[in-house]
């Protein structure tokens, strides 16, 4: 009987169907390049690779956190706790190392474990009791931030010289450029996340879950396990992001990373991940983080904006950005 659609769907069309999802990615990249070019024309000292690298240095932790968030969002969930978990990780590290003399080499895995376990716990509650992720992770957000305060309301400095040395290490690149080790770590996490999402069974199950959770269950996929794992990944990424932030700031503080969950969600969504799940790329998230970072850089370079104009311009740039993104890459309009 042989179906006949192949006669219709020519190679070009097949290509476009198969790669429709990539279009927003390409558009976003093009817009980023445009933004950088305009910045370079506008501001002295902007046209330099170091400016771009600084975006990475200053947003490495956000990238790691946003990658974790991407996993969650791909399953159709949301994790509001990430900002607080980042803060908790900075606090915990500083408290362990400074106040309790725990060696750094022990504190780091401990903090990562706490993050992953916290995430897994939230995932377990979400799955087992069928409670909306929004509330569970909101409770997680309160709890983690609250624990920070319970450790200390003051910020704790890391005074240990090794820590400072690690923090101030610069990975030198050719041409007098440099990045921080955190950038390297963030990029490794990015690569890992890419491989996991696109080339492992777990990653594909994440997408399946976002496509249709009840179908995924009927297809015999391990829905519960995957869900729990996804929140654990997000928790782990937040803890790692927190560690990077600890080194970035050399301190633990309960008010670090306030509102970072929104930045992370925004980065993922600007990068083309659908909040309803099932569609998106972790590389898009990296682009999203860069967009947010670059907007901030442009504003710093501008240097004449008052506090309120800063906000208005950030909002305005974001607006223009998503508008152009829609206009050029609007293949997937939600009808």
């Amino acid at each position: 009987m042989s179906t006949t659609l192949s006669s219709l769907t020519g190679p070009l069309q097949r290509f476009s169907v198969r790669h429709a999802a990539h279009v927003p990615l390409m558009v976003t990249t093009a817009l980023l390049i445009a933004m950088f070019s305009i910045g370079s024309l506008q501001y002295e000292g902007f046209f330099s690779a170091q400016v771009l690298l600084n975006v990475l240095i200053d947003n490495g932790f956000l990238l790691v956190v946003a990658i974790g968030m991407t996993f969650v969002v791909l399953t159709g969930g949301i994790d509001l706790s990430v900002g607080s978990v980042v803060a908790l990780s900075t606090m915990l590290t500083a408290w362990l190392v400074e106040r309790n003399g725990v060696p750094l080499a022990l504190a780091v895995p401990l903090v990562l474990l706490v993050g992953a376990a916290g995430g897994a716990l939230m995932g377990w509650v979400i799955h087992t009791f069928e409670i909306q992720p929004f509330i569970v992770t909101l409770a997680g957000m309160f709890l983690a931030r609250g624990l920070c305060y319970m450790i200390s309301t003051e910020s704790i400095s890391l005074t240990d010289p090794t820590t400072a040395r690690i923090a101030q290490t610069r990975v030198l690149l050719p041409g007098g450029l440099f990045v921080s080790p955190a950038v390297v770590i963030a990029l490794v996490v990015l690569a890992l996340a890419f491989v996991v999402l696109h080339h492992t069974r777990f990653g594909r199950t994440v997408y399946a879950l976002g496509g249709n959770e009840s179908s995924a269950r009927l297809m015999g996929l391990p829905v519960g396990r995957t869900k729990i794992a996804v929140y654990a990944v997000s928790g782990l990424c937040s803890a790692l992001g927190g560690l990077l932030l600890t080194f970035y700031m050399l301190s633990g503080y309960a008010l670090h990373a306030v509102g970072m969950e929104l930045d992370a969600i925004a980065a993922a969504v600007i990068g083309g991940t659908l909040l309803t799940g099932g569609s998106g790329f972790v590389l898009g998230t990296a682009l999203g983080v860069t967009v947010l970072g670059l907007i901030q850089t442009v504003i710093s370079f501008q240097g004449t904006l008052s506090s309120w104009w800063t906000r208005i311009v950030i909002g305005g740039l974001l607006f223009v950005f998503i508008l152009l993104q829609r206009l050029f890459g609007g293949a997937r309009t939600a009808e």
């Binding site: 501001y43 002295e44 000292g45 330099s48 170091q50 400016v51 600084n54 240095i57 200053d58 932790f61 920070c148 305060y149 309301t153 003051e154 910020s155 704790i156 400095s157 005074t159 400072a164 923090a167 101030q168 932030l245 970035y248 700031m249 050399l250 301190s251 503080y253 309960a254 008010l255 670090h256 990373a257 306030v258 509102g259 970072g293 901030q296 850089t297 504003i299 710093s300 370079f301 240097g303 004449t304 904006l305 008052s306 506090s307 309120w308 800063t310 906000r311």
Partner: protein, 307 residues
């Protein structure tokens, strides 16, 4: 220590003017806005090009801003740290780039004192102590217990921590002072009012209110009035900052005392910036002029308040 002052004037701007990069905390209060305004106006007056960046209360944004200042090769960097700790890395980058740094408003706790040239600002602990001292003096001689309620600033923020600690320090010697309730009012009028309203319901005999800033005090005053009591009389009100509205309230006898925290340090900052850029030596610590105002001084001081 002699910092590497290779900073030659005019690197960052083509017209030869001194360029100052200033990383502000945010615009979270009227106090902060007045602070920003003072700096802007002073820069203009002093002929200094100001690169201004607003961190929206986030330390990581301030660090990013400082980094872009370094990238732009400004002559001097000044900033009001959100918190004391966590500045070493970026300050070291500034130092390596040969850009001198001035701290305003609040110090950093860095061990390496070569990372900044000078500190210009207020001492929140001292403000809390001043508030406490006034209270101790006010109740000198009486031995009846005094019930205090405290409206704290944003939990974990430096002014909240320090003003609480300073105040507690000043009154700890006298057991008659008892803090019966202490809650955060997030430095805002709305929260100040809401929390005070709840305090008034759960504690029938409040004698004194200590608010970490004027806005919370002003909100709380409304709550006290709505509960049918007289602020400043039935409940004494102590506040910090010294914004104009607080002076008005003080004149109306609703606030008993305001400990000033002066945001107008623009001129002093510009002076320091010029000196630092020129490689002149400056004192490690410059205090801004601040006072403690009571009701009888309010009327006289009010016309002079700028914010």
């Amino acid at each position: 220590t002699e910092p590497a002052t290779t900073g030659t004037t005019g690197k960052g701007s083509s017209d030869g003017k001194l360029v100052l990069g200033f990383a502000q905390v945010g615009a979270e209060s009227g106090w902060r806005t007045a602070n920003t305004k003072s700096i802007r106006e002073a820069a203009e007056k002093a002929g200094i090009t100001l690169k201004f960046s607003d961190a929206q209360q986030k330390q990581e944004n301030q660090i990013k801003a400082i980094r872009t200042f370094i990238q732009q090769k400004v002559d001097v960097i000044a900033f009001s740290p959100v918190v004391e700790s966590g500045w070493d890395t970026v300050l070291k980058e500034a130092k390596n780039a040969g850009i001198p740094v001035i701290l305003t408003d609040r110090a950093v706790d860095s061990q390496d004192t070569s990372l900044y040239r000078t500190f210009l600002g207020s001492d929140f602990v001292k403000e809390g102590q001043e508030a406490g001292k006034w209270l101790v003096k006010e109740y000198e001689g009486s031995s009846a217990p005094v019930n205090l309620v405290e409206l704290q600033g944003t939990t974990g923020s430096a002014p909240a921590n320090d003003r609480k600690a300073g105040f507690a320090d000043a009154i700890k010697g006298d057991p008659k002072f008892k803090v019966v309730a202490s809650q955060t009012g997030d430095f805002t009028r709305a929260k100040g009012k809401e929390v005070m309203q709840a305090f008034l319901k759960s504690h029938k005999d409040i004698d004194v209110l200590y608010a970490h800033n004027d806005d919370m005090a002003l909100g709380a005053i409304q709550a006290i009035e709505e509960a049918g009591k007289k602020p400043g009389v039935d409940i004494k009100v102590i506040s910090v900052d010294g914004i104009k509205d607080a002076f008005v309230a003080m004149q109306e006898k609703k606030i008993n005392v305001v400990v000033e925290c002066n945001p107008l340090l623009g001129d002093q900052l510009m002076d320091l910036a010029k000196k630092v850029a020129a490689g002149e030596s400056v004192p490690r610590r410059v205090e801004v002029k601040e006072g403690v105002f009571t009701q009888d001084q309010a009327a006289a001081a009010l016309p002079g308040r700028q914010y």
